[in-house]
């Protein structure tokens, strides 16, 4: 295996206000090899977007801060990089796609200008070259070059998101962070955009972190998946394995919340309860209050990251400290 391009180690991100400290991300670690794609999945408030912002150094000031850990990008620690260094990395080496294409384009500039802007910022080309390249990028995402001089309001939602993708990929970044890129789009356009992200990723050899609350979306694009819960990665492994046989009760719960074509459901069984308040996290396993398999020990002892069948799981059942009642057979 090659040297990881991006290595997130024990990242802890907090939002500090006068009243409380919100523990948004609590010591997550993962590696990403060049060309890899990782899906970050979890409920609202699980810390997915905060993870992305931590990598980009875009945490809201002054509340957001990285309290520990490191984000190594090609060996360089982005947590300790200066704002000046980060600016040369953002948009150039690491790009981000935002959730809502309706608002992530500036309404008063033509799309061509907006694609050209990122090229100008990073000084890769002059004005005319940048505009020519902007046309190429538009064609790459399947929009005719002639529409370069049109404004965002003249495009449909799906096309806007393609423009956003064109902007993100204009400088041929090494890593692309996509924060719920399809949430604001309808299902048909969603499939189209995902296929495009997948194709372009392969063509430009970009690594990808795809953030989504939708397991289906991640399944279409990613090789690996990390399930996040309350700021922790509770299960991390190859996508197919995780989907076939979840090792963490939360992952299992997520799958049980989705209807399956091959099973007759009377009712879906959602995960009971709500995410814990990230300002007041329990001492033991964060998922214990909602876990159908939880025992007394779960509420007292925080689970450690355990290797299990090539995956990393945070559950006492995998540590062998609590009886495994999930029915995961030995293989």
């Amino acid at each position: 295996m090659s040297e990881p391009q991006l290595s997130v180690r024990e990242l802890v991100t907090q939002y500090v206000t006068d009243e409380e400290v919100v523990h948004a991300v609590n010591g997550i670690s993962f590696d990403l090899a060049p060309g890899d794609s990782l899906g970050l999945v979890g409920e609202t408030g699980a810390g997915k977007t905060t993870t992305a912002y931590s990598i980009m150094g875009l945490l809201p000031k002054p509340t957001g801060r990285i309290a520990g850990g490191a984000v190594l990008f090609e060996g360089r620690d982005l947590v300790r990089a200066s704002e000046e260094e980060m600016r040369t990395i953002r948009g150039n080496q690491i790009s981000m796609i935002f959730q809502d294409p309706m608002t992530s384009l500036n309404p008063i500039f033509s799309v061509g200008d907006q694609i050209a802007e990122v090229l100008e910022i990073h000084g890769t080309s002059g004005r005319s070259d940048a505009l020519a390249r902007a046309g190429d990028m538009l064609e790459l995402v399947g929009i005719p070059r002639e529409r370069m001089s049109e404004y965002p309001h003249q495009f449909s939602g799906g096309m806007k998101q393609r423009v956003v993708i064109a902007i993100a990929l204009a400088c041929s970044p090494k890593l692309l962070l996509a924060d719920e890129p399809t949430t604001a789009l309808d299902v048909t356009i969603q499939a189209q955009v995902l296929r495009m992200i997948k194709d372009l990723k392969a063509r430009l050899n970009t690594s990808l972190i795809l953030i989504s609350h939708d397991l289906g979306v991640v399944a279409q694009v990613c090789d690996k998946v990390a399930i996040m819960y309350a700021g922790k990665i509770v299960e991390y492994g190859p996508m197919a394995d995780v989907f076939k046989a979840p090792l963490h009760p939360y992952t299992e719960g997520l799958f049980n919340s989705i209807p399956r074509l091959d099973v007759d459901h009377d009712r879906l069984s959602p995960i009971k309860g709500l995410m814990p308040d990230p300002a007041q996290l329990a001492e033991g396993c964060v998922f214990a209050p909602r876990c159908p398999y939880a025992r007394e020990l779960c509420a007292a002892r925080p689970p450690a990251i355990t290797e299990c069948r090539g995956r990393k799981v945070m559950c006492l059942m995998r540590e062998g400290l609590v009886e495994d009642r999930m029915g995961v057979g030995d293989e």
Binding site: T88, S95, F98, N106, I121, Q154
Partner: protein, 314 residues
């Protein structure tokens, strides 16, 4: 095939084509033109501006400042000979003459030059300074914002005309000081307006997106935030021009603005007020000039607001 089938296709194609044709300034002009009053206002503003530009060609400046005592209070359209460069020259007083026998229309024409310059420069100054401060306050927040906004509050607490009066009284009445006084008193409105706009715009995702592209603060403010704040500022500025013309008139009326014998609408009104019963035309015409210009600017401002309002778009 159902008879309805072709229709949606045709309907879907047509608006897309139409939208493609009109963009930016063309679309703006199309919407502005629909407001007939605003167009009328624009015509009036244009006429006054032309009048101001060609004032010297219409009336000699010396002629409108030189006393012609024998012709004092000449009536509307009166034809007489006037002393001009040591000769008797026939002259028609189209709008009559004032208490010194000076041509009222001539003084209005030259007064327009003063008023238009005051209107433009004071507001341009206020928009640049106030807008800049507002953008900085809104974007950075924190203690910078506190200093700028509380300073603005202090300026706002003093009545405009009183503050301008204080500045002119302290620095002495001159054209530059008048510009400065009116310009400074106009600043707070733009600080507040732009700051409020920046607060709403900076939370939008495209600003975050620009930051994610590696753009500097300066670039984000100048290229992404400020252009998105401009619509209300442009409207406020047109209304502000009317306001500052009025302030200049008021200051001149109080004897602190343009000094006689230089023609300015305010001091024309001030001179004429003693003769309101005996020679009302000396008061009415400069008054009408002030009124029409201010009305015209207000109409243009209203029209701009409608044309730039995104809610009324399409």
């Amino acid at each position: 095939m159902s008879p309805h089938t072709p229709k949606p296709e045709a309907g879907a194609a047509a608006p897309a084509g139409q939208r493609g044709r009109r963009t930016g300034p063309a679309e703006f002009w199309f919407r502005f033109r629909k407001n007939k009053l605003a167009v009328a206002g624009l015509v009036v503003v244009a006429l006054y501006t032309l009048m101001a530009i060609f004032a010297d060609q219409l009336y000699s400046y010396d002629f409108v400042t030189e006393n012609q005592i024998p012709n004092a209070f000449a009536g509307i359209g009166q034809k007489t000979d006037v002393d001009w460069h040591d000769a008797q020259v026939p002259h028609v007083y189209i709008l009559g003459a004032d208490n010194f026998g000076r041509d009222i229309l001539g003084r209005i024409v030259h007064g327009a030059r003063v008023s238009m310059i005051i209107g433009f420069t004071t507001i341009a100054f206020a928009v640049l300074v106030g807008g800049g401060l507002g953008a900085i306050a809104g974007y950075y927040g924190g203690s910078i914002e506190t200093v700028i906004m509380r300073g603005t509050d202090i300026l706002l607490a003093i009545p405009n005309i009183l503050f301008a009066l204080a500045i002119v009284a302290a620095l002495g009445p001159s054209f530059q000081n008048l510009l400065l006084a009116i310009g400074v008193t106009s600043i707070p409105v733009y600080v507040r307006l732009v700051q409020a706009q920046v607060l709403t715009v900076k939370g939008q995702e495209f600003v975050e997106a620009a930051r994610a592209l590696g753009a500097r603060d300066f670039r984000i403010i100048v290229f992404h935030i400020v252009p998105n704040c401009m619509a209300p500022v442009i409207v406020q500025a047109t209304l502000g021009i009317a306001q500052s013309i009025l302030s200049a008139t008021a200051l001149s009326f109080l004897g602190l603005g343009i000094q006689p014998p230089a023609p300015e609408w305010g001091n024309m009104l001030s001179d004429a007020r003693s003769y309101i019963t005996s020679a009302p035309h000396t008061l009415i015409f400069p008054g009408l000039a002030v009124m029409t210009v201010i009305l015209a600017y207000n109409l243009v401002g209203d029209g701009l607001r409608d044309a730039l309002d995104p809610k009324l778009k399409r």
